[in-house]
């Protein structure tokens, strides 16, 4: 139940700058996911919201109050740590009631809050166990329970699923999504490097890179209309293919001449002034289809992976990175063949100087 506002937030350790000029508004009920490559500062930003790291410059407001110098406990936040950070010497019950005890809540109040949350998270049978007697998933639930009990304004999750195995990660991801649905008024910030988590959980995603925000938007906005090459390559797996080319026709549709006599037609509009512009054409692997007509790409298949639902094709990587295409279903005998691929103009992205032409 809180609005968050970051104005010009920056962080540096001595002379080393980690984050610069972060501006972001988060509204009540949102689940914001910070994603980005390792070392992009996403955890640092979260820890600044928590109050565990000092804010070097800029202002952080929670519900209109600048909290830069307010200690963590008084900011009305709760945090779930990557390692769960359960207190090993306390039982589940004690872990969950620790914050309430420190806040001098009455015994009855604590008991009521803990048992209510334990019921939601199905932890009732484990309340008197020590954390070491719990499985990874149960520990994770206790960590989440510990934050819910406090009824905070803002929930902070720091890569909460990265210590779980693959199957449990999916199950817990769904639990978190359902938890969020059951608390529509709560504001959550979630840090992850896993883009599936980001795509499935977020109401909006914040992509962090190069000390700043690369793009903010809903998961589908980021997927369908990436603002720059970085976001285009970062969101989606395998990453978007990019080919250099030159604009040869402009208008509501743009035509780009590529190497090897290939051509790309894109629905991104351009003007007369763009004739001859050097651009990069981006097409996601899943948007490429085999064709007999003019291809957007042609090459010899180097390697294939049969995944059942689709066949992943890797092309000759002599020019640098593999070009990758996904064809639906199982396709045998492609290896070593020359294939021509085309793409729907709607799905063809254009970038100049790293920025998408859509956002000029």
């Amino acid at each position: 139940m809180a609005n968050l506002k970051m104005t010009g937030i920056a962080k540096s350790y001595g002379d080393v700058s980690v984050l610069e000029d972060i501006n972001l508004e988060i509204k009540t009920g949102e689940l914001i996911v910070f994603v980005g490559p390792s070392g992009c500062g996403k955890s640092t930003l979260l820890r600044m919201v928590a109050g565990l790291e000092k804010i070097t410059a800029g202002e952080l407001e929670i519900d209109g109050v600048v909290v830069n110098n307010i200690p963590p406990a008084e900011r009305g936040i709760a945090m779930v740590f990557q390692s769960y950070a359960l207190y090993p010497h306390m039982t589940v019950r004690e872990n969950m009631s620790f914050a309430l005890k420190l806040a001098k809540k009455s015994k009855e109040e604590i008991e009521a809050a803990v048992s209510k949350v334990a019921k939601i998270l199905q932890l009732e049978d484990y309340l008197d166990r020590l954390p070491k007697a719990l499985s990874g998933g149960q520990r994770q639930r206790v960590a989440i329970g510990r934050s819910i009990v406090r009824n905070p304004k803002v929930y902070l999750f720091d890569e909460p699923l990265s210590n779980l195995d693959a199957a449990l990660r999916v199950a817990t991801r769904i639990e978190i999504a359902q938890l969020k649905e059951s608390m529509p008024e709560s504001t959550m910030i979630y840090v992850t490097h896993d883009q599936v988590e980001a795509m499935t959980l977020a109401t909006r995603i914040v992509v962090l890179a190069n000390k700043g925000i690369a793009q903010v938007g809903t998961p589908l906005e980021l997927y369908e209309r990436p603002e720059n090459e970085f976001v285009a390559r970062f969101i989606g797996s395998p990453a978007m293919n990019l080919w250099p080319g030159e604009v040869v026709a402009t208008g509501a549709q743009t035509k780009v001449q590529l190497a090897d006599g290939c051509e790309a037609l894109s629905n991104v509009p351009t003007t007369e002034a763009d004739m001859g512009l050097k651009v990069k054409v981006g097409v996601r692997p899943e948007d490429l289809r085999a064709t007999e007509g003019t291809p957007v790409f042609t090459g010899k298949v180097d390697f294939t992976e049969l995944l059942g639902e689709l066949t992943q094709i890797y092309f000759d990587a002599t020019a640098g990175e593999h070009v990758i295409a996904k064809l639906p279903g199982i396709v045998h005998g492609l290896r070593g063949q020359n294939i021509r691929l085309a793409a729907n103009p709607e799905k063809v992205h254009l970038f100049a100087d790293g920025r998408s032409l859509l956002y000029r």
Partner: protein
Amino acid sequence: MHPALQGIITILVGVGGCVGYFYLSNQFLDKVLCPPRGKNAGRNINRANIIRPWLFLLPAILALSIYLAYPVIETLRLSLTKRSTLPDGSTAYAWAGLDNYRQMMKEPKFWEALKNNAMWLAVVPALATGFGLLAAQLTDRLKWGNIAKSLIFMPMAISFVGAAVIFKLVYDMRPIEQEQIGILNALYLNFGGEAPIAWLTTPFWNSFLLMAVLVWIQTGFAMVILSAALRGIPEETIEAAIVDGANPFQVFFKIKVPQIKGTIMVVWTTITIVVLKVFDIVFAMTNGQWETQVLANYMYDKLFRSNDWGVGSASAMVIMLLVTPILVWNVRNARREME
């Protein structure tokens, strides 16, 4: 031969002998006894691996049985016999049952020693562990914390007798017309004391002045071990506590201390054992006079001053009986810590 040269040769022979033993016996096992080739190669490798631990443990087992197990049994025997010198100069041992123990019980000095030991036990481990924990926590986040730590740890390198001599100077008393060289009396007079006090001959409190020496030495030990334990606490549990609203004291007492409780107990009991055996400090500073007697010094008095082997051995057995349960508990605790 020059003593330094003698020392160097001893070190070379000792260390070289150890290295040589381990290297050559290992070679013998692998090359001669169970060579990993031929038709029984696999079996030989397994056998060598079964024998190897015993090979490496052998020197320790031998040394421990000669220098530990045998003396314990011999002391037990001596404590149950009466030694007398016959007219022709030879010694004779006669079975005495529990006579030695009975005689010891009748001596007020024994009870004084027991009482003092109990006092040492109550004071020294608690203070040394407490100060050590405090020093470990306070030096942990300081820039010059490592220098502070070295300073606190340094007394560990001083022998008990050396420390006793240092503190004898601290407690020294000169007649009032002379300059005081003992800092305690100098301070006492400076802050309005009328006449210098002979600290070490003032019963009851003098025991505590002796204890101060051991606390001074053991605090460094406690600090080093506890500092390592404090660093082993997951940082995230501390951050979680801060987010939960704990102030620094609550973080320390409710999150940090409980997580290193096992280590604290190990440090505590280790110092307890040192305290039960304390001898040098008392011997060098008061030699058990002025009601400062402790068990180990009592044993030394009986054994080597009165030449009463019976009662001396009996008091040694008492010390061992007191130490053993704590030692067992300590080892168990340390093992549990390692898991």
